[in-house]
């Protein structure tokens, strides 16, 4: 694999996510909405096979995830030896999720009805994905509509959560391709169709080389590679590279270099920037980006399921939660209603950490967050809180810094 000059890094502050799905819809309308004909090379250029794909999605956790059962042993994925960074063996023969059963049947907004504007409501045309769920016009509901005990679709578990009243709990988990440092999808592809861009570490699929074998879908433990059944190609998040590459132009009249789901994030939970692996975490160039401050300096951001060994470049600040209740209804002091163990099963630093080490890290992160918050609450200041508040868009979307 080619040397990566710099690696895109992302941090999501789960304490700020409100589960509005604006990121999901930004991505959907930008890239996988069947109505849009995208003329760019290397991108899906017709609507067929795209509608079921949510390159960005928001899940409610605890939950079954998207697609159903992601992160369960049944769906598998990841590396044979996840703790060895030099061992690229994967098992690309694992089971694959079904579109209707696991991802959710494709559907399209009826823009005319939703927005009252026929101007944007062009039928997406024939949608020949599957024998039983072909749609020929805009649909407000999936076809077939989820029904019965096994029904499922994207975001099926919204706000369900877990726990027994009054200690019920949930949080939102936005996900997209992690643009991993060691992508299992890349390792699994027998056609060498998947590559990491040298200039930013973004993982892309060469649509000309791809043969639709779906080894990548099986190997990605995050299930963030999708199969386009109409084109017989695998597709995935492209980190909006055409937008990022777009020049700001004279007088900054053009949109800035931002990926769309980050740009549209209502809660401003998303931070993006580059990390130069050659310089190391203490280099001034790296420290100038807030993503690196959060990951390397403050140490408050963790990877999602690092045990798969792919070294994801999307980090999450784990969610604080209100105290739990005793049976007598009194609050448990200094407690977290979302069990630390539950979070530790999801988040960690790397593939080598034990569950106990992860739990210690999360407790440490919570202490840091609470301490820094308290400083501000008491009239002081905190560099960490300043970053997390992200008063300006340029504080969190820093791809422009190069």
């Amino acid at each position: 694999m080619a040397t990566i000059e710099k690696q895109v890094r992302m941090v999501f502050d789960l304490n700020k996510c409100i589960g509005c799905h604006t990121c999901t819809m930004a991505c959907k309308t930008q890239w996988t909405d069947g109505r849009i004909d995208i003329p760019l090379e290397n991108l899906p250029d017709n609507p067929e096979g795209l509608l079921y794909q949510y390159w960005n999605n928001v899940e409610t956790m605890p939950g079954r995830g998207y697609p159903r059962g992601v992160f369960t042993p049944e769906l598998g994925g990841g590396f044979t030896n996840p703790t060895d960074p030099d061992d690229w063996r994967v098992d690309p023969l694992g089971p694959l999720p079904g579109i209707v059963e696991d991802y959710g049947a494709p559907w399209e907004y009826n823009y005319d009805e939703v927005l009252g504007s026929s101007a944007v409501d062009e039928p997406p045309g024939t949608f020949p994905v599957g024998d039983t769920f072909a749609a020929t016009e805009s649909q407000m509901v999936p076809i077939p509509s989820p029904d019965g005990p096994d029904a499922y679709s994207s975001n099926w578990d919204e706000d369900v959560g877990a726990g027994k009243y009054p200690n019920t709990h949930y949080f939102y988990l936005p996900r997209l391709c992690n643009h991993c440092t060691k992508p299992a999808c890349l390792a699994a592809c027998p056609k060498n169709a998947i590559y990491k861009r040298e200039e930013d570490g973004v993982v892309l699929i060469d649509q000309d080389r791809c043969e639709g074998y779906r080894r990548c879908v099986a190997a990605c433990p995050y299930k963030k590679v999708y199969y386009n059944a109409a084109k017989k190609k695998s597709q995935k998040c492209i980190f909006c590279y055409p937008r990022i590459e777009q020049d700001t132009g004279p007088d900054n009249l053009q949109p800035p270099r931002e990926n769309f789901c980050f740009n549209q994030c209502v809660g401003r939970i998303r931070f993006a920037g580059f990390y130069d692996p050659d310089l190391g975490p203490n280099a001034a160039e790296n420290l100038a980006k807030n993503v690196n401050q959060l990951v390397d300096v403050w140490g408050v951001a963790l990877r999602l399921h690092p045990e798969f060994g792919t070294a994801p470049n999307l980090f999450y600040i784990p969610p604080l939660s209100p105290p739990g209740f005793r049976r007598n209804g009194r609050l448990v002091p200094n407690s977290q209603r979302i069990p630390i163990k539950l979070l530790a099963k999801m988040f960690g630093d790397d593939a080598n950490q034990t569950l106990r080490q992860r739990m210690r890290r999360i407790k440490e992160i919570f202490r840091i967050l609470e301490t820094e918050r308290a400083k501000v609450a008491n009239g002081g200041s905190s560099a960490l809180v300043d970053i997390l508040v992200a008063r300006e868009e340029s504080d969190r979307l820093q791809l422009y810094l190069g």
Binding site: R89, Y103, A187, P190, Y226
Partner: protein
């Protein structure tokens, strides 16, 4: 004629992949012998691909009765991860208990050649319209002859066919084996694949130089070059694959950049009276077989009657 753009294999890729594939074959279950079967292409009167009642489209046509069916056993191989990344130590698994049989007949008229292939398949997998759905498929591999690529002698006992799409003796261009001083990287001989899938209207023509290194895929809508007819009934596929015995000239003036592989427009030229090494492979979509997960045969000989 429409051609899909050419893919150039990277030398680096080859250097990573090929040494890793050169694993010992003794006892591994890989094909290590040749001439295990012979498919005799009988000469019949003339036929055309387009004739709906002719042998190209009618598996019951009387011309087929003059041809002898050859049983071609295939073994199951999982070629799990052919990516250029390293660590192929356990890339291949062979289940010696699993054998699939093709029954093959062949006829030709001097201009075109047909293969009538029958095989059992309980499921009709003609589409891949969902993530876990895969196609049934069939492929015939013909290495380019030694006269075109000196040193590429297919199918010798010491030179096993390892992967559909490649056949290497493990030596580099100087005849050196891995580990010997000066070893560069293993030579890989170009091969010509004819690939059938039920959703395709014709056989796809592929030229490849090894695992993950497809040199070029030549798809054509010229009905005089390739042909496919198919029928699935009683848990059994009957497929008729056809091709012109001689393809367009090479180099092709329309594609001056694609002159490095094979004569005859990237098709191995077949001649009446000639003999050719061949390998067959079969994929069952219902078993999630695709790409490197397949049943594959030993080298056999195609004997084309004068």
């Amino acid at each position: 004629m429409k051609r899909v753009s050419m893919k150039i294999a990277k030398a680096l890729t080859l250097s990573l992949v090929l040494p890793a594939l050169l694993i010992p074959t003794t006892g591994s279950g890989f094909p290590t012998d040749t001439d295990t079967y012979q498919v005799n292409a009988v000469r019949v009167g003339s036929f055309t691909f387009a004739d709906p009642t002719g042998p190209a489209n009618n598996p019951s046509h009387p011309d087929w009765t003059s041809a002898t069916a050859t049983d071609v056993p295939l073994e199951y191989i999982v070629f799990a991860s052919a990516n250029a990344k390293d660590s192929f130590d356990d890339w291949a698994k062979v289940n010696p208990e699993a054998v699939r049989h093709l029954s093959i007949k062949s006829i030709h008229d001097g201009g075109e050649i047909l293969f009538r292939v029958e095989f059992e398949d309980e499921t009709f997998d003609e589409n891949a319209r969902d993530v876990p759905r895969f196609f049934d498929a069939l492929a015939l591999m013909i290495p380019y002859p030694e006269s075109d690529y000196p040193g590429c002698v297919p199918g010798e006992t010491s030179e096993p066919m390892i992967h559909m799409g490649m056949r290497c003796d493990g030596r580099d261009e100087h005849g050196l084996l891995p580990g010997e001083p000066g070893f560069d990287f293993a030579r890989c001989c170009p091969v010509n694949l004819h690939f059938w899938r039920p959703d395709k209207v014709e056989v796809e023509n592929i030229v490849t130089n090894g695992a993950g290194t497809t040199l070029e895929t030549d798809e054509t809508d010229d009905p005089t070059l390739f042909h496919a007819a198919q029928e699935w009934s009683n848990d059994r596929w009957t497929v008729i694959m056809g091709r012109a015995m001689v393809g367009p000239p090479n180099p092709d003036p329309a594609h001056p950049d694609a002159t490095d592989v094979g004569p005859g427009g990237y098709m191995v030229t077949l001649e009446a009276g000639g003999t050719y090494a061949t390998v067959w492979a079969n994929w069952d979509g219902d078993r999630d077989e695709r790409n490197g997960s397949k049943f594959i045969g030993l080298f056999g000989t195609l004997i084309i009657a004068p």
